[in-house]
Symmetry: C2
Subunit: 341 residues, 2 copies
DNA sequence: ATTTTTCTTGAAATTCATTACAAGAATGAT
DNA sequence: ATCATTCTTGTAATGAATTTCAAGAAAAAT
């Protein structure tokens, strides 16, 4: 059943049927009703691929994430999807599982015009390649970013957020503060380390090199292992800022398994403010990223790009917020309203 | 740059270029190399939508999930995506956020031929509608299912798994066993309740109606609230089987907030075996669903359907497994290898 | 060397909706 | 009543690949 069949049945031209579907105001009420009746009667569904082919729009965008199993990204994705659907777009999901090659593979969807634009929630590609690509296709970065990149980017200020997290520990009196790093090949890993260093420096605190635990991936297990190494030191830290909540939960597990208490023996701050942060015991103090909003914002900028609107700013920095809970002490009571956070 | 341009440059017909791309064995080595050289030289990318239009295949499938933010589904999704990519398919993600209307909306992608098939990880539609749809389009259900539905379905046996979970509590000596239910409008909610009832019955244990906590959604908060109600009873239960891990974690929070201990005062069993189950304290005993495998299996059946292969079985029941941890007592030590689970 | 078979290749049709353009009808202005 | 303007509709071109069919070339068989 195609448009021309509907046209015949309604005694109009295919052009008119097309107009009824996409520009109904161009068709007289009488004709329109006649056509709509036939459409309903035969249950006609336009062949969208044919439309896409003709209009050169797929109304589909690609969202590339480094890890779909991460609670962080699924919130961002929801922000993306809501905005996408509201604007009539579909979302294709591309999970790279932290692999640059797979990130590269997804670019083909753009080159082959299968999607109208791309949202990168990971940025491990080379800067030049990405910029070159962004000249020809609508691309927006979110969460991760590349320094000085000439492509719209939505994220928080990771350095200052990490500084804030570290300073929270310092203000609570900790002097032996350590950092469990994220992956150093990702800018977020480097930024959060940088923020940590800045905070220590500006409070005239030494950073023992063994207090900086690099290595491993972003997993819970990695957080566990790195905390174990810190605990094995002759003088372990009393406060630890961890790259993200998932690793922080691994780190907490390590502390508890070692028979130590949080926050009395070791205070911990995480990053991302996952839902789980207020479920684990003790509740985890953490930097909140406005995940849903980041997704929304990134998607709406992408749509602007697709519509060839001029984007004046290239960098959109969202507000982060330190949620103080029990894992650092200094506040031991969590109100019942907090559990809804 | 289109195929005909490449053809001209290589002094061949467009048909030959097409064959080089999709059936290279039909083209002589000499011609093939010549064409490939031009393709590389001008960096030609075929227009995939045009191909889709012509071949009536999009090589894209739709995966409809009730909630992308759930840790459970993201694992299943990964199984789906791996298999999809291996077979040359893209995955469009449809998040319904537990709404039947949105589930319905996604069906349009099928009707309009935007996808070659659909994977439903939720099944709130009417049976007849779904069966009718499945006659015309490749559809596979996973995780959820509909009784007696004539559409391939991949899932575990929820009733027997729930029975197993409940029996674990009973075997540990609990007689006052309660169930915190999932949503009753979802078959999984009803099944797990049924399994709970069966286990109680077959051990001649009464089920106090107030021990069956219905209502609410699948969220952590709901688990918290329902456990609070159980604790408020004159004689609270000593063991609780909770619909899923997320709710179980909410329930654990309620127990702890009430100053009670797990498992000494209240033993808890969850369902799904999320990664978090072995992070929360105490580690949560839970029924494992082979999430990744379910995704894999469902996707490969879908591909078989797309390829019009005959599927003999309609129901694929995967193995579940009870992971015994600390939340029920009876085993207090968790080996270090377990933490990798 | 001739016939048969298999390999290669190209011409042209096909997929289905959109849209520029033009023409005719209807409305409004004078 | 006539002309100008606006509305409505249809004709036909268009997009970029794939694929059927046929023809000519090459290889194999006799």
């Amino acid at each position: 059943m195609k448009m021309s069949d509907v046209a015949k049945m309604a005694n109009v031209s295919p052009a008119t049927v097309s107009r009824v579907l996409s520009n109904p105001e161009l068709v007289s009420k009488k004709t329109r009703d006649k056509v709509l009746e036939v459409i309903n009667q035969v249950n006609y569904q336009p062949h969208i691929v044919a439309r896409q082919f003709r209009t050169k729009e797929t109304k589909t965008i690609l969202a590339v994430v480094p890890d779909i199993t991460s609670a962080f990204f699924s919130e961002v994705l929801r922000g993306i999807e809501h905005t996408a659907i509201r604007e009539g777009y579909q979302v294709i999901l591309g999970d790279t599982e932290n692999s640059v090659e797979r990130e590269n593979d997804y670019i083909n969807l753009l080159l082959q015009k299968q999607v109208d634009g791309m949202l990168l929630l990971t940025a491990r590609l080379e800067k030049e390649k990405l910029e070159e690509l962004a000249e020809h296709f609508p691309i927006v970065l979110a969460c991760e970013y590349i320094d000085g990149l000439n492509v719209p980017t939505v994220s928080i200020d990771n350095i200052s957020a990490a500084r804030k997290a570290t300073e929270h520990l310092i203000k609570l009196g900790h002097e032996r503060v350590a950092h469990i790093c994220g992956p150093m090949n990702v800018i977020l890993g480097r930024d959060r380390l940088r923020g940590f260093r800045q905070a220590m420096m500006s409070h005239d605190l030494d950073v023992d090199p063994s207090y900086i635990q690099e290595g491993g991936n972003e997993s819970l297990e990695s957080g566990y292992n790195q905390m174990m190494k810190l605990l094995a030191l002759e003088t372990p830290p009393t406060g630890v800022f961890v790259y993200n909540d998932e690793m922080a939960m691994g780190a907490m597990k390590a502390v508890k398994n070692s028979g130590l208490r949080i926050p009395e023996d070791i205070a911990i701050v995480g990053f991302d403010n996952l839902k789980m942060a207020s479920v684990v015991e003790p509740h985890l103090t953490s930097i909140d990223q406005p995940k849903y909003k980041i997704g929304q914002k990134a998607m709406s900028i992408l749509i602007q790009k697709i519509n060839k609107e001029k984007i004046t700013k290239q960098s959109f920095v969202m507000k982060d917020h330190l949620f103080i809970r029990q894992s650092c002490g200094g506040q031991s009571f969590v109100s019942s309203s907090e559990q809804k956070t």
